[in-house]
Amino acid sequence: MPKLKFTLRVKLIFASIFLLAIPLSGFWYVSNMMSFLLKGQEQVVSLTARSVTAILNNSPNLFKRNILESVDEEKEYPLYRLPNKIKLDGNKQDWPNRSKQIELNNKEQTENKPLSFSHQVGRIDNYLYALFDVQDKNIILRNPNTLHLEKSDHLQILLRDIDGELKKYLISPVREGWVTAHEMSLKEKTFIPVKNETKIHGFWKNNANGYLIEMRIPFSHLGNKLIFSINDVDEPSGKVINSLSTGRKNKSWEMKTVLTSSADIKKILSYLEIPDTKIWVVDKKNRIRASIGSLDNYIASEPENLFRSFANKAFRFIYEYYTASSPARNETKPYLSVYDFTDLKPTLEMGKSVSMRKSLPGGNTEIIIDIEPLTDSADNIIGAVVVEQTTDNILLEKRHIIEDTIYITLVVFIIGTLFLFIFASRLSSRIRKLSNDADNAIGKDGKIISSITSTDASDEIGDLSRNLAAMITRLKKVADYQEKMANNLEHELRTPLAGISASLINLKREIGKGDKSNEYLVGALENLTKTEGILSKIRDASMLEEALKQGEFEEFDLCKAMTAWGNFYELSFPETSFDIAIPEGEIIIFADPERIYQMMDKLVENSVDFSTPNSTVIIKLIKNKKNAEITIINEGEHINNQTMDQMFNSMVSLRTVEKSDGIHMGLGLYIVRTIIDHHRGSIQAKNIDNDPPDKVAFIVRLPLG
């Protein structure tokens, strides 16, 4: 795996992870806000409950008019809240196990024609639900052609409506299934339907034992008195043989009281109506005496897309982390607008104030509930006030805030990271460019090749680039100055040298030939000439590049040239033997012949000087695809790596052996390299060690003409 360079970009990406602190702190803020708001709401709810309690406590006659102490089942229909929603489908599974069995007493029981049923009532929202599980061996349903509702098995309902009027209804189905009630005329002994009351309806289902009726009556059609009776007809002719009511044993026609709500309490509560709030007043027997408001407007969860669900999950995680609470997580029974009366026990029995929160199915809405005890003037507990409020306002806000927070912080995070990355990239590339420029400005040998262009930027990198550019310029100036100084020096030296030699020549001529002093003079003059020679070499080398430009290129045959030169070398260096290999044909290059000659001259001289005595210098010329290649190999010490880099520079000399004329300044290879550069060729020095003894090779490549 490639090593990850810890570049600026990488560093900045790591740094930008800290930007994650933004969304996290957003969440933290929202969590705290939510906790705070929810607490506030709880307090409001509690306050409301206590206010209601206070008001009701101050109405001393409130409960007196109502029978609260005991539920006389003979005289009363207690309206329990049904725990589940009842589906009117002829299936009694959704009813709690509270049905009471009602049977004919001995007197009324006719032989072989028993009639019994189990029955319960309950309350869901604004309806009174009733269940009848009738055991009847002989089910006679109404003939569809007849108007006589009473000539078949039927259910009779007798009630007083809200206005106090007596009403009679009959449910007499033609067939199984959906049934509605018919309002009957009240004339004694007549069974004439007045109209079809569809609002009182239910489901009649036949089964093995008899039949099942699930039905409901809206409270709008019901006052405070109610009684049911099941009437059995066993023959098609339709004579009622048995009738069984849900009333008292010896006063079967007396209607039972239905405790719907306390008008007084309701009146008081109506002043306290608050949106999204439900206020219950419950008496000691868990009967709801009054309620106001509804929670039905709770807002269903908005459809969750992927982002929302992610946002909500993320938020929940952090919320729980911060507030160390798990809202309603421990509730096993979801709230469903029904009471589990164990919730009220602490209040009703011990007078405790209770505050709790439950969640609605769908997960997001919660209900805040506060229960306060109601006491009479003697401080006896006579009931409880329950206030319920949804947290929808807060929750809706919460959702919006979460989403906004997440959107904004994500956007900020992404943009922030992007900006940082772009910035880092730019910085990185600027620095890299500067680094490359600096690298390229100075060649491998320390020679200044080009200058650095500085930027106008006013930041640190701009400063750095300007500094580097200034540095290079200064170095160049120094190098130029030194070169110039060398020139100047050379020039300055010439004049005195010329003067000395002129004086000596005159002296020599004055003395005349015979004088012994001539020896000294001749020696002196020779040395002066040598000195001047050194100066000339230096000058020539320093002006070489200029001089090269004035040379003329022409096309010439390197093979012929090398042949001619080869002869010359053999003559010039008689102590060295040469092995010169020149191919057949011609190799044409476009070059300055004098300079190529000079280059070869210097190289050969160099090789000869460094070759071990009595060894052979090999000169090889070959033609490559694009180049002419000249190789000169001499036996001798290897060149070490340090020298390899430097040896083509001016004034670098490897010599340990004094040359015969004693003059050597390390210019030869410098001249060679400069000439080769001028011809766009290349030179390479190599140590050869695969063929002892040690050899050194110089390989020159020149482009073909």
């Binding site: 010439r494 000339s536 040239a561 001619a564 030169w565 000659y597």
Partner: protein
């Protein structure tokens, strides 16, 4: 009659030595150490030859100024320039001043100065007598007058300096023969590096090419020497 040579050189040692050497050769020498001094003197009377240092007292044009002044007064007076740098040689060579010459100030100056002085005096003398056709030599399109040191290429006169003339002479003595750098140096009465010979040859070529762009009679022999080729 003894010739009078005027020597204008600001370096004291050189001035004295050159003057003494020339006197030893039998010439009268009068020396000047500044342009002003020489200028004033030449206003009243002219020498038979002037040897001028180009750079006088930080004035890089000093020698040329005097030269112009002298040329204004006399079209025939020979002038030898003493040059310190090689680019001065270019400048002198470019001055279309006839058979004049230049010499570098170095350890060899006094070795070659006498030859130049006497050659130039001979050139002047040869102008005084009518043209001696016998001394003219024709080599292809080239015509050389050895006494007057004049050169004609395709009948057009080319003004070469003395040194350049000697070099050309050496090359054309045996057309087709290769002359090495050494041989050329010797014939031109100079001791210079190979580079300098190359530069001289280049200047000669350039002068021919300015008249005849097709000129290619001086061929380099693989860098080892030069050869004159008749086309």
């Amino acid at each position: 009659m003894t010739k009078l040579i005027a020597l204008v050189e600001d370096d004291e040692l050189l001035r004295k030595n050159y003057a003494d050497a020339l006197r030893r050769d039998g010439y009268n020498v009068v020396t000047y150490c500044s342009r002003q001094e020489a200028s004033d003197a030449f206003n009243s009377s002219l020498p038979d030859m002037a040897i001028l240092d180009i750079m006088l007292d930080d004035d890089s044009e000093g020698g040329f100024e005097i030269c112009r002044q002298l040329r204004y007064k006399s079209t025939t007076i020979p002038i030898i320039f003493l040059t310190a740098r090689t680019n001065d040689v270019d400048r002198v060579s470019g001055l279309r001043l006839g058979a004049w010459d230049y010499l570098t100030k170095d350890t060899t100056t006094l070795d070659f100065l006498p030859a130049r002085v006497s050659s130039l005096f001979n050139v002047i003398d040869s102008f005084k007598i009518p043209t001696n056709k016998a001394v003219e030599r024709k080599v292809g399109s080239l015509m050389l007058d050895e006494e007057r040191k004049q050169v004609f290429w395709k009948d057009v006169s080319i003004s070469l300096s003395l040194t350049e003339f000697w070099l050309l002479l050496c090359l054309t003595k045996h057309p087709g023969h290769v002359k090495s750098h050494q041989q050329l140096m010797h014939s031109a009465n100079v001791v210079v590096t190979d580079n300098a010979i190359t530069a001289h040859i280049r200047r000669i070529r350039d002068k021919f090419k300015s008249i005849d762009p097709e000129f290619s009679s001086i061929k380099s022999e693989y860098g080892m020497g030069y050869r004159w080729v008749n086309e």
